[in-house]
Symmetry: none
Subunit: 411 residues, 2 copies
């Protein structure tokens, strides 16, 4: 007997190193986690290099790897995945970018790279989409607002490269940079030229936009320039249902993770109140996961808050968030006919406030797995597990084997 | 917090198999090693295939792998690395060889492949360097004496290959072999022709050399021919400081290891009395390591003696040497702000008197590592460690991550 459905829970950045504030324990070790420990006790555990040993994964490259789309082959940059997550339908070959609305002063100097942390930028995006015209370059574009000051841009046209620099100088008090081709290729030169034109046209639209006039009269910084970075070309992904024979969904607050899920052919399942921070609607995401399984065989559930605490270097908050997550995950234990996989996409040690290459803990729990003696879900205990040390790229093949959908290699 | 400096101690050939003379224990298990055990207790341990499972590493390929220059890409033979270690500055593309001074009789038969284990061959090398002329081939050459009967040769010129045979028949009583191209390529044919010319010219110089006349009148074998082997083409190595952002040094008695270190851009740090044998100046090498860290972030310390004992099949001597090493390494425990890594480059089991592919033990000790429960530094205990089984190629990425110099792949 084997389970037929799969829930893959990715606790974003939950993995850590020993923390001084926690007496040399990791947040996962220090947290009271009866649910996770029960999943570990009934499952097979291990540690995992989501890319490969010593390589520090981004959330994007790690999730591609976990879903069985190796980033070396499928990753060209964050832009196209963010664009997909923002609601732009990215076709293979389209060039995608991450954007910020920002503020420049009369002298053309950047004074606020987040335009006073502006919210609800849709009126600006709609005006840009209507007003900018790139047809003289033979280029179609798509511009969408994201959360807060964020947005996404996609370009569609012949002969366009993605090796271009950004106009974002990454600091205030200086002028935006011109877009440049990073190689001497005509494709990249074309993209740079189109972006320079897009910047000029969008600046003209934003300068006199009613929403910006309003902001200026209220004394808040206007969103009068779009900073554009993270260039990449949308790849061609064999759709998840075709690759694995399972219909799947993705539940994630982060645009990037939603975009990766959609790019590979998972259906995006929105959840009200999911924020990607510690205040996210955790029970809602778990409930949506259980509901999604009714007519799907696979759900990727990404929970982001622990990563944020790691980036902030807050070990105690990370532990507290883990305990909340643990409580909320309890209903997943009782799922019928389901292989439950819990892991992380990368470590975000509080001590270094960024991603690290330390392997992440992983557990697979469900009918047919070889249960090992690990009783606790944490970085140190799972290292003693029956899975040993695996690579992220191996996860989907292992899952597919355990739910009996794998094909024999040979006879 | 993380350490910022790295000491990589390679106990050359220390790794072994169970030895009958030691009651079925390995020399590392049998030795009293409080220093190594304390490093293991406070660190994360594992086993490592320096190349890949089942592949018997040479010291050269293993060290390239450990330094993050995969031998499949960077290794073309021992010659160019020995030449670099002998003090010849090897530029990318130059062809390098290992040489022996040897003795031939009047009939042209080799009678001693080490010329009576001759020492101090510099007068011969200088005469060869001055007297041999390869300019008719458009070739420049560099010839240097090494330890004992050893020497190194490098050729610099256009259109030269390195797939050539040796003139060393590897036994006495026969004539030296002609150099031949191993493929039907004109580049290799040119190198073979140049080597045949070098042999003839150098024989003429050595025949009447005063030092050889003196030897003959003292009844010791003259060094009247150069045997040449280990052909390889110097590769192009991204310099270590550029690759890893760390200035580094290498401390090693063996010319080969010094050559590898220099080839990849580590500064060679000579230590008086370092011999590469059991009688080496161990405290001097450890002291030099500590001094070298004052203005460098990385030191590779190679200690060779255990390998020799393994090649000689002497388990008791290997154990005794390990105990001496252990005592001498003690000051490294107290280094501040330092990630201390101890491993071996390959196993040299006394039972087989040569390198084997058995994985080697490894420990990483320093701020931030996930300390595991291993209490003893040996092949069997380390196999239970938190690192599990890694490949040599992964070592530098793991180190670079732990000292917080790694770049994120993705976002």
């Amino acid at each position: 007997m084997t389970a037929h459905k799969v829930v893959l829970v990715v606790l974003d950045g939950v993995s850590d190193r020993p923390c001084t504030e926690l007496g040399g324990r990791t947040p996962l070790q220090a947290a009271h986690t009866p649910t996770l420990d029960s999943i570990a006790s009934g499952g097979i555990c291990g540690i995992m290099d989501t890319i490969s040993p010593g390589i520090r994964p981004g959330s994007d490259t790690a999730h591609l790897s976990l879903l069985g789309y190796p980033p070396k082959k499928f990753y060209t940059g964050r832009g196209p995945l963010e664009a997909e997550g923002s609601g732009i339908h990215m076709e293979p070959g389209m060039i995608g970018f991450r954007c910020n609305f920002a503020t420049i002063d009369r002298a053309g100097m950047i004074v606020d790279r987040r335009a006073g942390r502006i919210h609800r930028t849709e009126p600006l995006s709609i005006s840009i989409q209507k007003g900018v015209d790139l047809s003289r370059h033979g280029v179609e574009f798509f511009f969408r607002s994201g959360a807060g000051h964020r947005a996404a841009l996609a370009l569609k046209g012949e002969g366009m490269g993605f090796c271009v620099s950004s106009n974002d100088p990454k600091k205030d008090g200086v002028a935006p940079l011109p877009f440049r081709a990073l190689k001497a290729a005509p494709d990249d030169a074309k993209t740079a030229m189109v972006l320079n034109d897009f910047e000029q046209q969008s600046r003209a639209i934003l300068r006199d936009h009613p929403l910006n006039r309003e902001r200026q009269s209220s004394g808040v910084p206007p969103a009068n320039i779009v900073l554009i970075r993270g260039a990449g070309q949308m790849g061609s992904f064999q759709p998840f249902p075709e690759r694995y024979g399972m219909k799947g969904g993705v539940i994630a607050a982060a645009t990037l993770i939603a975009g990766i899920g959609k790019a590979v052919g998972l259906e995006y399942i929105p959840v009200a109140g999911a924020t990607g921070s510690a205040d996210t609607n955790l029970p809602g995401k778990v409930e949506a996961t259980i509901n999604a399984l009714k007519n799907r065989e696979f759900v990727l559930l990404n929970i982001k808050g622990a990563d944020e605490a790691g980036h902030d270097g807050k070990a105690l908050e990370k532990r507290a968030f883990i305990e909340r997550v643990d409580e909320t995950l309890a209903p997943l234990i009782d799922l019928d006919d389901c292989l439950l996989v819990v892991c992380s996409d990368h470590s975000t040690p509080c001590a270094i406030r960024d991603h690290s290459a330390d392997p992440v803990p992983i557990v697979l729990n469900g009918e047919g797995v070889r249960v090992d003696s690990v009783k606790s879900f944490d970085e140190i205990s799972c290292a003693h597990g029956g899975l040993h040390r695996i690579c992220g790229e191996s996860l989907m093949p292992i899952i597919i084997d355990l739910v009996d959908r794998a094909h024999k290699y040979g006879a």
